[in-house]
């Protein structure tokens, strides 16, 4: 008989429910996005959205997957890292569902889940992963039981940097066109490169100096917005690409996986592709529905963990706001 896992994702502004089979077939992946008017995340408002959206999203997922709640073997939820109120809402829903159905619960690390679903969706096996989103900027690779962090941001995340700039520039995001995509579109009309702070330290990077500099230039009004978007992208993407290349050179891995919301950016894709080629590595971008925050990734990682005997007792299911990727044992990876 087929076994199923339902996964709940609620680390930030999206509430999402996925259902996958133990063999790795995604039957449902419903995302309910919360988008505040002026952009930016207000954790409590987002959490309120999640609480309201939960019921409907779960129902939709069951309909889509064509299974009944009683068919579930296990329930997974994102336990961290993320925003407290949002995480807690998801965890509460997961706990209630698990105890009602009397099935085990598995707390999943959000960053691990991004990597695992990326591997499932693109069939890469042992990649260097560049995970770039609104809340994370991480270059990692598996080694001896864990995903090790080779490089990360020292301050704000890449997506956050793009978002804040867009907001400062008075741009608007809408459904299907997040701030990053708006910046990308403008950047494609940019011609003139303005030199901005380029900060790589070892394998880490810093975006806050870059953001401050480009916002100051914006306010001075001497440059076209298109050129600023262009320069911001070129500078920031070159930084993450440099770090990814170094990780690739040091680990000699043969695959590169690009994921997270910012992975949708064509310019970034082409840069990462270029270094992959240079090092004879295979390059894969995670398809959008699995690159954004989504429930399927939580469900799938829940399956992997559960199969290795990992469950999370209710009393240990408290959320972990700053749960680092490299603190998680992943015994299912060889």
């Amino acid at each position: 008989m087929e076994k199923y896992c339902l996964g709940i994702e609620s680390t930030a502004d999206d509430f999402s429910v996925g259902i996958v089979t133990f063999k790795g077939k995604v039957l449902a992946n419903i995302i309910s996005a919360y988008m505040s008017e002026e952009g930016g995340i207000h954790p409590r408002e987002a959490a309120r959205h999640h609480a309201i959206a939960a019921n409907k999203t779960i129902r939709e997922a069951f309909e889509k997957a064509q299974i009944k709640p009683q068919d579930l073997t296990v329930i997974a939820f994102s336990q961290g890292p993320g925003l407290g109120p949002c995480l807690r809402t998801g965890a509460t829903v997961a706990r209630a569902l698990a105890s009602y159905l009397d099935v085990p619960l598995v707390g999943v690390n959000h960053c691990v889940a991004h990597i695992e679903i990326g591997k499932l969706a693109t069939k890469v096996k042992d990649p260097i992963t560049l995970y770039v989103s609104g809340g994370n900027t991480i270059v990692s690779a598996f080694d001896s039981g864990r995903y090790r962090i080779f490089g990360e941001t020292l301050d704000i995340a890449l997506g956050n940097c793009l978002d804040v700039f867009a907001r400062e520039a008075g741009l608007r995001q809408r459904e299907g066109m997040p701030f990053g995509a708006v910046v990308e579109k403008l950047a494609s009309k940019g011609k003139k490169l303005v030199l901005l702070p380029y900060t790589v330290k070892g394998m880490d990077m810093s975006f806050s100096g870059l953001l401050t500099a480009v916002v100051n230039l914006l306010k001075r009004g001497e440059y076209r917005l298109e050129d600023l978007c262009y320069s911001l992208q070129e500078t920031a993407f070159s930084m993450v690409t440099e770090v990814t290349e170094r990780a690739l050179a040091h680990t000699e891995k043969k695959e590169v996986l690009l994921t997270g919301g910012v992975a949708a950016n064509r310019r970034l894709q082409s840069m990462i592709e270029a270094i992959a080629e240079e090092h004879d590595a295979k390059f894969q971008v995670v398809p959008k529905q699995f690159a954004l925050d989504n429930g399927a990734m939580i469900a799938w990682t829940g399956v992997l963990a559960y199969k290795h005997g990992i469950v999370t007792p209710i009393e240990k299911s408290f959320v972990k706001l700053r749960w680092r990727l490299d603190r998680v044992e992943v015994p299912w990876v060889k």
Binding site: P85, G135, I149, L195, K201, D204, R322
Partner: protein, 221 residues
């Protein structure tokens, strides 16, 4: 550059290619920063030129601070190339995995002391990894690869520098990362004192807790 004999590529790093060559009768390393196709050429040139000029300067300062670094013989900005002394020795990266526990501790103590000296003189290395440290036959540890370094005594920069050291240990020597880092800190505090060291350690903790949801996402998280 004159009289450069038979350069042999010995390492194609992520940033630069390193050649071993004979130059005026000496064994030298020629470090050439190659253009990166993924970067716009103007940005690329700017980065390479800056680092080529910057690296020898910091190496020189480091030496003054009592930290062994290769002697610089020549800098060619146009070609983004540095010619420096070849350090005949072994990468600490390999050594750490081969030696006994007590030797490992001695090495890390020494490394910590050297980092302490750099910081004391306002130098931040910027890329503290065990492959950028070479032990020569006289038992001296040389530091190389200062291209990402800077001159500052800020706590933040010191914290980042040591955080990078810790992470390099964790990602390549995870089996004994902790004992190594503890020894590094012990050596470091011999030079900078317990007070400064404690402040830097606190800073490292803060840095490692960052990286997610700051700016407007911070206040409620």
């Amino acid at each position: 550059m004159g009289e450069m004999k038979t350069p042999v590529l010995i390492k194609k790093g992520a940033e630069a290619s390193l050649y071993l060559a004979k130059w005026h009768g000496r064994k030298v390393i020629m470090k050439k920063r190659l253009p990166k196709k993924y970067r716009l050429s103007r940005l690329d040139e700017q980065i390479r030129t800056y680092r080529t000029a910057h690296e020898p300067r910091l190496m020189h300062e480091a030496k003054k601070a009592g930290v062994p670094t290769p002697i610089i013989f020549l800098v060619d900005m146009k070609k983004a190339t540095i010619i420096m002394e070849f350090v005949d020795g072994k990468q600490v990266k390999q050594l750490l995995d081969e030696v006994s526990e007590s030797q490992r501790r001695q090495l890390c103590l020494k490394i910590g002391e050297l980092i302490g000296r750099l910081h004391k003189h306002g130098i931040i290395h910027g890329d503290l990894t065990t492959s950028n440290m070479i032990l020569d036959s006289d038992g001296k540890i040389f530091f190389v690869d200062f291209g990402l370094g800077e001159k500052t005594s800020e706590l933040e920069a010191r914290g980042v520098d040591l955080h990078l050291m810790r992470r390099a240990l964790e990602s390549t020597h995870f089996r004994f990362a902790e004992e190594c880092f503890n020894a590094v800190i012990e050596g470091y505090s011999k030079v900078l004192g317990d007070n400064v060291t404690k402040k830097v350690l606190d800073k490292i903790g803060e840095i490692e807790r960052r990286g997610r949801y700051i700016a407007e996402r911070k206040e409620e998280a």
